[in-house]
Amino acid sequence: MTLLTDDQRQLHDMAKSFLAEEGTIKKQLRHWRDTGCKDGFGHGLWKQFAELGLTGIAIPEDNGGLGLGATEAALVLEEVGRNLTPSPFLTTAVAAARALEGTAQGNRWFPGILAGDTVAALAIDEGKHHRPGAVATTATRSGNGFTLSGAKQFVVHGASADVILVAARTGGSVGEREGVTLFAVERDANGLDIENVTLADHSKAARLTFNDVVVDADAVVGEVDNGWAPLSRALNAGRAGSAAELVGVAAGSADMTTDYLKQRKQFGKLIGEFQALQHRAAHLFSEIEIARAAAYKAAELLDAGSDRAELMVHVAKAKAGRAAALSVQEGVQMHGGIGMTDEHDIGFYMKRQAVLDRLFGDWRFHAGEVARLAGY
């Protein structure tokens, strides 16, 4: 059954009212941008996430978390998307937590994440496109540990993270999944250069350079050469999660636009009376509904441990990426001139969509993966 359980509905309602109250564009995104915050999000809000148990949404119950699944994460992320709420929720509490589950590094970092004190980041991409298999950063054995050298980019919250999960190559060659190892590197590690970059949506991501950064052997997350296992857990969770957040972005932008169609008058009529706009709005509605169904399905299959989950995660991220792109483009267009102003919120949706679509792979990448998995 694809319907939500009562518990899931309750969680969704809770997230909805919490974020509609505390996570609004005015209180968070616009505020932190206008005050030039170096983190791009509010630590106070992250604490509130913790108080509600949400920072532990994916952390196993044995570690003190809620131990919930991708479906619950999706429900929260939809609301995060709708409100454009900046927070480390997706990368820390959903994606990184999945990578860390069942590992010694997990035991180390979970208490801080649960308390809302710790931020974790994922360093996966090395080039301008998401190619997670193409890890070129190296980790060579030295003494009791490893020496990392290479560079990463698009590391969300990289500069404010306490710990960064870094994929590096301990064996194999670029493009292979074997030989990738995942390391937990602390922000203040010697030789780690962090450039804090502001992205188009005013969120922060970092470019990292590893200049012979030395880490202990126990910095390995999971097993040496087998980093693909924790990494793919994080990727699936991050992709399914960002798909859900994109659905929220799409829905938030579409709702704002539909409201505008009912207010703005031209030629003596509400512009929502023009059939050319009605049909486009109706088409957009359909695309968003379908994207939501795909995002929920991907989460459901992940939670069920289905062997179709990975395929559906690609479908969800691709579909949500395109639905959200359509939504923000139509959103700005149907607002006319005011849609182009910084004063109006609709433009924030367009900027967030651009970033979220690229995060964990854009829709073209995921459509390509669907073809690859299907064998054509």
Binding site: A281, M312, V370
Partner: protein
Amino acid sequence: MAEAADLTQFREETRAWLEANCPPEMRQPVKSEEDVCWGGRNFKFQSDAQKRWLEVMAQRGWTTPDWPREVGGGGLTPAESKILKEEMRRIGARNPLNSFGISMLGPALLKYGTEEQKQRFLPPIVRGEIRWCQGYSEPGAGSDLAGLQTRAEDMGDHYLVNGQKVWTSYADQADWIFCLVRTSTESKHGGISFLLFDMESEGVSTKPILLISGYSPFCETFMDNVKVPKDQVVGEVNKGWDVAKYLLGHEREMISGMGLGGGTALLGKTLGEIDDPALRAEVAAFDVDALAFAAMSERFIDQLKAGEAHPAMPSMMKYAGTELNKKRHELIMAGGGSDTLEWESERTRKGKPAREWLRTKANSIEGGTSEVQLGIIAKHILRLPGA
């Protein structure tokens, strides 16, 4: 989520029953229109297997799994119906019966019919004995369906029907028709009634029309002084529009299934080698849409059965599903190159790809056009002004 124990048991029993009762021939993919079983007085079964498959399924009420047992249905819960569907798909079982009676008239009768009408009309639908056609559209009333002109005059003990319908699918093969007629001219929507009558009634005649695909599945239907007994009105006189709209919701739900393309295989896997990167990209984007739509379709049915779907959602599903199916066939044609242009050849089984491609163009017209569906979404879901 783990399946409840009683459902697991139902699944096991269903699987065993299908294994024992679904003839092997009925597990082969449908190759042509003739393989589809429509039932009815004049239907010629293609094989004993086709006949037997209909009979055993009908006996269990599984041609209409979620209809009540009192009218011959299967009485299954939504979860059980879903399992039956899954188990049938698992072994590739064909649909035992295609029928407008099942997908359109039945639900309307269950909601608006009298007890007598239900008992009279539903069991023969379940058993595939009576084939129905739909008399809605007229030459002057298509998208603006409520503008219909076919008259039904009250003659005391019966109605006298005069007028013309058009695009009546399979009217020449149907046994009965459900027909919208005008019983009052005082109000456009409030003067329509929903009538049932036998196509063998005196004064009814049909004339097939050829489609661009070269097939002629639909007709003009003429009514010339047709007598219809009064107990064959469904719902109240002059309130047939409510019945008509309710039925359309079910029709649209049925048509939206086109979006699933009849199978679970990804399009890119069925096209053979794709040596053009632009086509591969287009096909991959299509497969994303198709798998997302399949997820939507499952969610929609679950919501519908749980009473959580917006009443206008069938319009969204119809719109999305039919546009998707048109796209699918555009890509099949593109992938097939000049092979798929062959019209009469044996290699293409008499032009199957091209004819199907052309047939799908009707998907976004029949049952209400895409433009009409978008209008309904705009008005009833988005509540846009003046829509």
